[in-house]
């Protein structure tokens, strides 16, 4: 074995450590992957070794590889092994690896529960700290449920370092286990006033984060936060609080009013930009939430805008960016105050920083008015030309369109200008937003009737120069505009100046290189053009020209018939047949124009986007019902095979019979209607079909605004929007003159009904009007009720009312052996709620009110239990007498006297529900102590025993040892104030012995006491911890000590003392350590353990309970149990092994012990004897 050890350590010398790995990776730049896979193989070997140092090193390397993107989840179990190492440096590596790679899907994560719990309760704050930090990254709902209570206890830890970590991690626990929020909230709230600033701001952070998701539940905390805001000087905390108020104000306008003043004071006084910025942000939020009834409303806004201007003017890009960001918030509600800073924002458009330019663009959106729109867009257009990089240019393009089209083209006074802007935008190279421009063109042309003539002329020019657009930009989306151009020219062909020319442009061979859907539109609109040309020619009685046009179509259409795109092919062949038919008719001299143009008669009305969805289902119509009987399966199967060539036949048929009658035309019209309805590019027709035909010739009833004649309607070549800017200025000027001269009432009809123009804009009347302001909606449209809430939102579960009092059922699940602390006084016993409460070490946050409520509950329960039938009581009394004995083993023994019997039966009644509850609890949280895993109920036990008591205070204590510190134990002392006085200046002093010394703060002498870090109000208890150093642990020790304190009540303060003897038993140096039976056997075989034994008579309790007692009081764990014989194991903090063999006879128990130290063993057995004698 020794040889193996040596060999292992020699191997270790050649292991790579992390540094070597990193160096190796750097030296293997060419074959990095190969090198790493080789390293991973080595790591796998290292992980197989028993040496924990080797494992830790391996896990450390894995963590690095994880960062480089390698999956290390296969090593999860090894990571857990390293986490449970006793040395801090290893443990830290383990937790780091776990926090990097564990997640909810990691199946071994459930193995960590007990390890984490052990680390959380470790006396070393760094162990606790590293466990908390790690846990925050991989906490799962199960871990959160099991550990919530432990973490909650840590929130009251004496070390601020632990407290703040515990507070922070509670947020993660809340997220994973929302039930814990309500029980933990009072303590969290208390931490807002923690003396340590770090803990305080941690609590603020957690509550802010909670409140941000569900603000309404935290409104009641507003006064507390208000106090903090006015008193705190910590800027980090202030920022958080101010941000929180920003979230709360929309819910409570009164809060906003109160906030304005302190916030403005802060704005004036602070020198920290970050705080200033957040204040401004919150003031904005307040102002948004307030109705305009505030008197100094505009002053605050003015202040904010001023401060933001300073930020924007700053040379620091970050401040500039944030200033613009905040400005855009003001813009939504107070556009006027921002508009006055237009100069500044336009200046930002020239900034070299793209983020800032984008922010400035956002602002422009809200700043435009009728007056400045043209100017701003002109500026933007110059930026478009200058912009390098397509993303920014695309962004500019969308912004221009957004700005212009916002709220129904509210700011556009001259649509000719807008169309020319759109046409100019088509000349952009490489933009992705062709479809956006196209949509705008269509929208404007359809909705602004007065502009159609102009639009059509522009679009035909665009079609003429289509080769420019299409050639250079085939790959990207700009050719989309041709779609719009073709459609507009076709649909509004009556406005076309030279239809013939446009028709030819649309039939150029080059067109076939366009994307299919655009060709399809071309084909369709060629016919529309054709129809209108026919009509013109026939009216002019120019039959020759009409036939020429038909001939042109017959010649050119086949190029589309050959198209690879099905849609194009179908439309083209269909239309080709139609045209051929027309040609025949023309040859016979029949006038056909009427009929052809009837194909496209009718007006298309824009419909609101959601109109279709909102059509109410008429009464009595069941959409799910079958209209006809569903066809039987067999029938449809018979017919299917025939359908294979189905598609071809009709086409041939059509070719063979070009002569079709009226019926065919009607059918096609119907098909066209159908097609339009299904074509998303078509603007859907109105749901009332009769409308379509009724206003076919009814152009005269459309109110058309007179267009100023000085505006040239046809601009040769491509338009320059600048011309329109000038023209528009002239128009406005003239308008103003006219107005001044006439001074008559304004023409109301010219104003749009959608939105009220702002006062300053009022005198500018638009040159054209947007025709349909509110798009058509079906009558009695259903109101939409969309629920935006995402059911999967993790924060939704935290929407919990925190002001409701806690119900008993809401307490956190508590691990059992910790709870087993005995209840404090007899009258408290048995109420489930109280029981749980008292199991945790009492904390000062437990409010008198809460206690009262508990007492009340208790009384009610007692009342119920005494009503039970008397007969049963007697029987139970007899039957359960023996078990009752052990119940009384704890500290309330002194109280059982004359009232004994009465109390006993009461207790029994209460005992049962408690047991049941315990059994349930056991299932929920498996215990680490083997002895308690069985079904049989085990009486409650407490490791806390009485230290001293007087009329003021009752002191109980427990000694905890830890493996990490071999000569140190921690004594937890619970102080309970039993009097009506306020206890303060408590100090604990102990007379040190040579062997055992109390750890005192540096610089104090051995005679100084150690102050207790809290004060006790009446009726409150709290726990303090003291560290003792011990040299030898083989003998039990008793130390004399004194607790001194000042008791203060209404009559005055008295100085009191309480003497005690602190008993350090040998058992308290033992640490429950699990041991496998084979290792146990080896240990016994080794033969270097000394032996001793005891025997105790008169034992009546069950063996199960007996083992539980030994496990609990003496920190042993059961190795194996056979009938009424068990082997047990424990280990001292200094590494002594202790093995026990416990045998139960008829009425006696014998304990044989083996231990590496004879003195320790005999001391232990003595202690055990005392414990057993009490049974």
């Amino acid at each position: 074995m020794a040889l193996k050890m040596v060999k292992g350590s020699i191997d270790r010398m050649f292991d790579k450590n992390l540094q070597d790995l990193v160096r190796g990776i750097r030296n293997h730049k060419e074959d990095e992957a190969k090198y790493i896979s080789q390293c991973i193989d080595e790591i796998k070997q290292e992980l197989k070794q028993d040496n924990i140092a080797v494992k830790a090193n391996a896990v450390c390397k894995l963590t690095y590889l994880q960062m480089l993107g390698y999956d290390i989840s296969w090593a999860a179990f090894n990571i857990i092994e390293v986490m449970s190492a006793s040395k801090f440096t290893f443990k830290r590596v383990g937790y780091l690896a776990a926090s990097q790679c564990f997640h909810e899907g990691t199946d071994v994560i459930m193995l960590t529960t007990n390890q984490i719990r052990k680390d959380l309760s470790s006396p070393s704050q760094y162990d606790t700290g590293v466990a908390l930090t790690g846990l925050s990254c991989f906490v799962t709902p199960d871990l959160a449920r099991d550990l919530a209570n432990d973490i909650m206890t840590l929130m009251s830890h004496t070390k601020p370092y632990i407290r703040k970590k515990a507070v922070l991690i509670m947020y993660k626990v809340f997220l994973k286990y929302p039930e814990s929020l309500r029980p933990a909230f009072p303590r969290l709230k208390e931490k807002l006033e923690d003396p340590d600033p770090g803990v305080q701001s941690a609590a603020v952070n957690v509550i802010c984060e909670l409140a941000r998701r569900n603000p309404k539940n935290y409104l009641s905390l507003a006064p507390l936060f208000f106090k903090l805001m006015t008193s705190s000087t910590n800027n980090w905390v202030l920022i958080k609080i101010i941000k929180l108020f920003g979230a709360l104000t929309p819910l409570e306008p009164r809060l906003g009013k109160k906030l304005i003043e302190p916030l403005t004071n802060l704005i004036h006084s602070t020198s920290a930009m970050s705080l200033l910025y957040e204040c401004v942000n919150t003031v904005i939020a307040v102002l948004i939430s307030l109705s305009s009834g505030m008197p100094n409303h505009s002053a605050s806004i003015q202040l904010c805008v001023q401060k933001l201007r300073i930020l924007i003017e700053d040379s620091d890009q970050n401040l500039k960016y944030l200033g613009l960001l905040a400005m855009s918030k003001i813009l939504k509600t107070h556009p006027k105050s921002v508009q006055s800073h237009k100069d500044l924002i336009l200046q930002c458009l020239d900034d070299k920083d793209e983020s800032i330019r984008l922010r400035a663009l956002d602002l422009l959106y809200g700043m435009v008015s009728k007056k400045n729109l043209m100017e701003i867009v002109k500026k933007l257009m110059t930026h478009v030309d200058k912009a390098e990089g397509t993303t920014y240019r695309d962004e500019l393009l969308t912004k221009i369109i957004d700005i212009c089209s916002q709220s129904n083209y509210q700011h556009i006074t001259n649509f000719e200008w807008y169309i020319s802007i759109l046409v100019e935008l088509t000349r952009l190279e490489g933009t992705r937003h062709g479809h956006l421009i196209a949509a705008q063109m269509l929208d404007v042309a359809i909705r602004v009737k007065a502009i159609r003539k102009f639009a059509v002329s522009q679009m035909s020019a665009l079609l003429d120069s289509a080769h420019l657009v299409a050639s250079s930009t085939q790959r990207n989306g700009i050719c989309e505009v041709l779609y719009a151009a073709a459609w507009i020219c076709g649909e509004f062909s009556e406005h076309l100046q030279g239809p013939q020319q446009t028709l030819e442009a649309m039939l150029r061979p080059k067109v076939t290189t366009l994307p299919g859907h655009i060709q399809a539109v071309y084909v369709q609109n060629v016919v529309k053009l054709y129809a209108s040309i026919l009509q013109q020619k026939e009216q002019a009685a120019d039959t020759e020209a009409a036939q020429e046009v038909t001939q042109l179509l017959v010649e050119r259409l086949p190029q589309f018939v050959q198209s690879a795109d099905l849609e194009v092919q179908e439309r083209a062949s269909c239309i080709l047949q139609l045209v051929k038919h027309v040609q025949k008719l023309q040859a016979k001299g029949v006038p056909v124009a009427e009929e052809v143009s009837a194909l496209f008669a009718g007006e298309l009305n824009p419909v609101a986007p959601k109109a279709q969805k909102k059509v109410p289902v008429p009464e009595g119509l069941d959409l799910d019902a079958w209209i006809n009987e569903p066809p039987s399966d067999s029938e449809s199967e018979d017919e299917k095979p025939k359908a294979i060539f189905h598609e071809e036949e009709p086409r041939h048929a059509r070719r063979r019979q070009p002569e079709e009658d009226e019926e065919e035309l009607a059918r096609r019209r119907e098909a066209r209607k159908q097609e339009q309805a299904n074509n998303p590019f078509y603007i859907k027709s109105s749901p009332s079909p009769q409308k379509r035909y009724q206003d076919a010739p009814g152009v005269e009833h459309i109110p058309v605004v007179q267009i100023d004649l000085s505006v040239p309607l046809k601009v040769p070549g491509l338009p320059m929007s600048d011309q329109y800017v000038k023209l528009e200025e002239q128009r406005r000027h003239r308008q103003r003159l006219e107005k001044d001269k006439k001074r008559k009432k304004k023409e109301k009809g010219k104003r749009r009904h959608s939105s009220l123009p702002t006062e300053s804009d009022e005198d500018i009347a638009p040159a054209q009007r947007v025709d349909i302001v509110t798009e058509e909606m079906p009558e009695n449209a259903l109101p939409s009720d969309e629920d935006d809430k995402d059911p999967n939102d993790p924060y939704r579960a935290l929407d919990i009312d925190l002001d409701k009092p806690l119900a008993d059922s809401e307490k956190l699940p508590i691990q059992k052996h910790r709870n087993a602390e005995t209840v404090k006084s007899p009258e408290k016993e048995g109420t489930p709620g109280v029981e749980k409460k008292s199991k945790k070490p009492k904390k000062k946050e437990k409010k008198p009110k809460e206690r009262e409520r508990e007492k009340k509950d208790k009384k009610e329960e007692l009342a119920v239990s005494t009503v039970a039938p008397a007969k049963d009581e007697v029987e139970e009394l007899k039957r359960e007498e023996p078990e009752d004995e052990e119940d009384n083993m704890d500290r309330d023994q002194e109280k059982k006297s004359s009232r004994h019997k009465k109390k006993k039966h009461r207790k029994e009644k209460e005992e049962r529900p408690r047991d049941k509850k315990k059994a349930k609890k056991k299932q929920a949280a498996p215990l680490e102590n083997g002895a308690t895993e069985e079904e049989e109920p085990i009486p409650p036990m407490s490791s806390y025993c009485l230290l001293a008591e007087n009329s003021y205070v009752k002191v109980t204590y427990d000694i905890q040892a830890s493996l990490q510190k071999d000569s140190q134990v921690t004594v937890s002392v619970i102080l309970e104030n039993k009097s009506n006085s306020f206890l303060k200046n408590m100090e604990l002093n102990v007379l040190d012995s040579l062997n055992t010394k109390m750890a005192r703060p540096e610089g104090s002498s051995v005679h100084d006491g150690v102050p207790v870090p809290f004060q006790l109000p009446p009726g409150v208890s709290n726990e303090a911890q003291f560290v003792f150093t011990i040299q030898s642990i083989v003998m039990a020790q008793k130390l004399k000590g004194t607790l001194s304190f000042i008791a203060k009540d209404d009559d005055g303060a008295t100085h009191e003392k309480l003497d005690f003897r602190l008993h350090f038993s040998c058992s308290s140096y033992l640490i429950t350590t699990p041991c496998y039976s084979d290792a146990f056997a080896k240990l016994l075989e080794s033969g270097d353990l000394s032996m001793n034994s005891i025997k105790v008579d008169g034992i009546s309790i069950s063996f199960q309970n007996l083992l539980a007692k030994i496990c609990f009081h003496h920190h042993f764990s059961v190795v194996e149990r056979v009938d009424s014989c068990a082997s047990m194991y424990s280990r001292s903090i200094q590494g002594h092994h202790v093995c026990l063999l416990v045998k139960k006879g008829e009425n006696s128990v014998s304990v044989d012990g083996k231990c590496s130290d004879a003195t320790l063993l005999s001391s232990l057995l003595e202690e055990m004897k005392t414990t057993l004698a009490q049974c």
């Binding site: 992390l18 540094q19 925050s136 703040k164």
Partner: protein
Amino acid sequence: MIQAILVFNNHGKPRLVRFYQRFPEEIQQQIVRETFHLVLKRDDNICNFLEGGSLIGGADYKLIYRHYATLYFVFCVDSSESELGILDLIQVFVETLDKCFENVCELDLIFHMDKGGLSAAPARAVSAVKNMNLPEIPRNINIGDLNIKVPNLSQFV
């Protein structure tokens, strides 16, 4: 809340990667890569904020970064964090590293990644590293070529 802390060098090699939200390793690497390409394009004298977009969590998130010598420090935070505060936090973080390793440089992070990882760890969850580390951090550390443009918060007590 801080969603992630990424530290990588001028070549995009990750030096410290910490996610407070579970992402599979491939996605983590992808995020690091994309973030790197985003910040690499940016000059040193333009603003330090980036809209996160589709990277992590969507529009509510921002990338806030600082560039020191050969390292980029990128924090991904949501809207509950103060942008300027995070910039200061990065400064505090770098100063902490500097204190731990004396004149921190890129190699320190690689060679002591166990420590580096942990000193980032307190920054977890609700980002209270600022609160946690503050009392322990001397304010007058002189870090070579750090140029601090953001005005410091007035005091840290």
